[in-house]
């Protein structure tokens, strides 16, 4: 459905420094430096997938989104989305996609939401019957029927984001790009937005590409993540893959009847211990969790065991460290 092959893109950036002398100098001899925003990016996305596209600021996320939504032309590389090359058949291509820029609005600030919707209907030439159907569906899932007649400037951020998402789906796109859709939202609105994305993905087989800094978004939504740093793809796989590869330890917490016997198992490190409980870090390369628990059971009268993975957030931070991005 989306095929991207070795995309590259670089920008020329003018250098500027402080001081009157250098200001005059740059007047006559401007200096530029070249920034490689993307280097040889390739991936494929199938219909109905939700893909989390993550990476630190400046990694090339928004450049990629801009290229595959037809805003930017890459220096080299191929991209086919539903048979169209975004930068060649822009108008044909953009009919298939919906875009939400989390920090910008496509709604008319001073007017009721429904006016913006009707304008979008005309921009995308959506037939009236189809428009009604889509609108009703969106209104009911997003619960925005009471907001439609309110001017946008009076909406809260969470209400506005729901309307923004509805606005980008009015023309029934096959693919939805979400650029930081939950930025600045409160917990309730975040969950509402996530639930909606899940629902619409299942009901319509909508393909969703999502950039975010909020790992909870990823955990709640994306089966697959693409990690990008310094313009290159560092990892492309499922969230479980990621955890497997970068979470080589599990945390095991054990409750037991009072016991002070010392524990010594290879690959197991005691993080903390009291008379009746302890927390252990299990190195999965050395020993399986079940085996470790087996050894423990020999020495202790275990009351309760729980196994925890490390939070994704931490894994990502580690990843950034590993790749030095």
């Amino acid at each position: 459905m989306i095929e991207v092959e070795s995309l590259s893109k670089s920008f020329k950036v003018a250098k500027r420094s402080a001081g009157i002398g250098s200001a005059v100098k740059s007047l006559f001899n401007p200096q530029y430096s070249v920034v490689n925003a993307l280097e040889d990016i390739s991936f494929q996305i199938d219909e109905g997938e939700i893909v989390g596209y993550i990476g630190p600021n400046g990694a090339g996320k928004s450049t990629t989104i801009k290229i595959i939504s037809g805003v930017l032309v890459p220096d080299s590389g191929k991209c086919k989305i539903l048979g169209n090359t975004p930068w060649e058949n822009r108008i044909k291509h953009v009919k298939n996609i919906g875009v939400v820029f989390g920090q910008r609005s496509q709604l008319w600030w001073d007017l009721p939401v429904i006016d913006s919707f009707n304008l979008l209907r005309d921009i995308y030439r959506v037939p009236e019957g189809e428009y009604r159907k889509t609108l009703n569906l969106l209104i009911s899932i997003l619960d925005i029927s009471s907001l439609l007649t309110t001017p946008v400037r009076q909406l809260s951020l969470g209400q506005r984001m729901r309307c923004e998402i509805a606005a980008s789906l009015l023309h029934n796109p096959k693919i939805l790009f979400l650029d930081e859709p939950t930025i600045g939202l409160d917990a309730v609105s975040k969950i509402a937005v996530r639930n909606f994305i899940k629902t619409i993905n299942q009901e319509r087989k909508l393909t969703v590409i999502l950039t975010t800094h909020d790992m909870n978004d990823i955990e709640a939504l994306a089966e697959r993540i693409i990690l990008i740093g310094k313009g290159q793809i560092l990892l492309d796989g499922t969230l479980t893959d990621l955890k497997k590869r970068f979470a080589s330890h599990k945390i095991v917490k054990v409750d037991f009847t009072e016991n002070t016997k010392s524990i010594n198992i290879e690959g197991v490190k005691i993080l903390n211990r009291s008379k009746e409980s302890m927390a252990l870090s299990v190195d999965l390369d050395v020993i399986k969790v079940s085996d470790a628990i087996g050894f423990l059971a020999k020495d202790l009268d275990i009351l309760d065991v729980s196994v925890h993975s490390r939070p994704v957030e931490e894994i990502i931070v580690d990843l950034y460290k590993v790749y030095q991005i």
């Binding site: 500027r16 001081g19 009157i20 200001a23 005059v24 740059s26 007047l27």
Partner: protein, 267 residues
């Protein structure tokens, strides 16, 4: 004083950063100068009767108007101040121990000066090398030049006093566009920027002489061009001083009243 100096330096630096803007400004003003001169050239050629200002003097006046435009334009505005007033941030300023009128006054002078410095010299320089009928030449004589320097300094103080009134009016109207537009258009006309004062019919000229506007961009330039004699020049300096005193007093008075109003509103 140090604070004002560093504020001023920051502004010039900022101006240099926006080099393209400065160059564009110079080009634009230069172009307007040429255009006005050509229109007047055509008018002067169509008539043989002598006019109250010679064509050559008029050329000097036009070039000076264009070079110092930033200094004397009423619509040259500081949106930061306007925003402070309309969105109520002004409340913070009121908590500070400084004299707000004086502070704004200094800020506006710095702003106009830095804008003008970047633009006036290139325009004057290029205009000085134009072929004869368009050329910008040296002042009529030494005394005119001294008078020009004195009056243009006072003119700057005067124009800022006038524009302060526009800012203060925002306290009352809460919408900068309306009052700014009206005063700017009228002021531009009465200061001879659209049609030179000497070319106005005599009744209109009498009105213009009663208003403060011509003492900003008409008086100094015509002194430079030698269109106004020594005696009238000295007298006009007195008038400038009187206007500055009146307008600054009026501004302070209105500002105080406006603040009282804000306090009463409890806002």
């Amino acid at each position: 004083m140090r604070a004002y100096y560093s504020l001023f330096k920051m502004r010039v630096l900022k101006g240099l950063q926006y080099r393209t803007a400065a160059i564009a400004g110079v080009c634009t003003q230069f172009f307007w100068g040429i255009m006005y001169i050509m229109i007047f050239e055509a008018f002067y050629k169509s008539s043989t009767t002598p006019q109250p200002i010679t064509y050559n003097q008029l050329v000097q006046v036009i070039w000076l108007q264009q070079s110092f435009l930033v200094l004397f334009m009423l619509w040259y505005r500081d949106s930061e101040l306007f925003n402070q007033i309309t969105n109520g941030d002004i409340a913070y300023e009121l908590c500070r121990p400084s004299d707000l009128y004086g502070l704004w006054y200094a800020k506006l002078i710095g702003q106009r000066l830095s804008g003008a410095i970047l633009r006036c010299f290139p325009i004057i320089l290029i205009a000085a090398f134009l072929p004869k009928p368009y050329r910008f030449s040296l002042p009529a004589d030494g005394i005119s030049f001294i008078l020009f320097l004195i009056t243009i300094t006072l003119a700057l103080l005067l124009i800022v006093a006038i524009s302060m009134l526009i800012y203060i009016s925002t306290f009352y109207t809460m919408s900068p566009t309306g009052s700014l537009l009206m005063i700017a258009v009228a002021g531009e006309f009465f200061s001879g920027l659209i049609i030179p004062v000497p070319l106005m019919p005599s009744i209109l000229r009498k009105i213009v002489y009663l208003l403060p506007f011509r003492y900003t961009s008409d008086l100094p330039f015509r002194l430079y061009a030698g269109n106004i004699g020594l005696k009238e020049g000295l007298l006009s300096i007195g008038v400038q001083l009187v206007w500055i005193l009146i307008l600054v007093w009026l501004g302070r008075f209105l500002m105080k009243r406006a603040f009282k109003k804000i306090v009463v509103q409890g806002g």
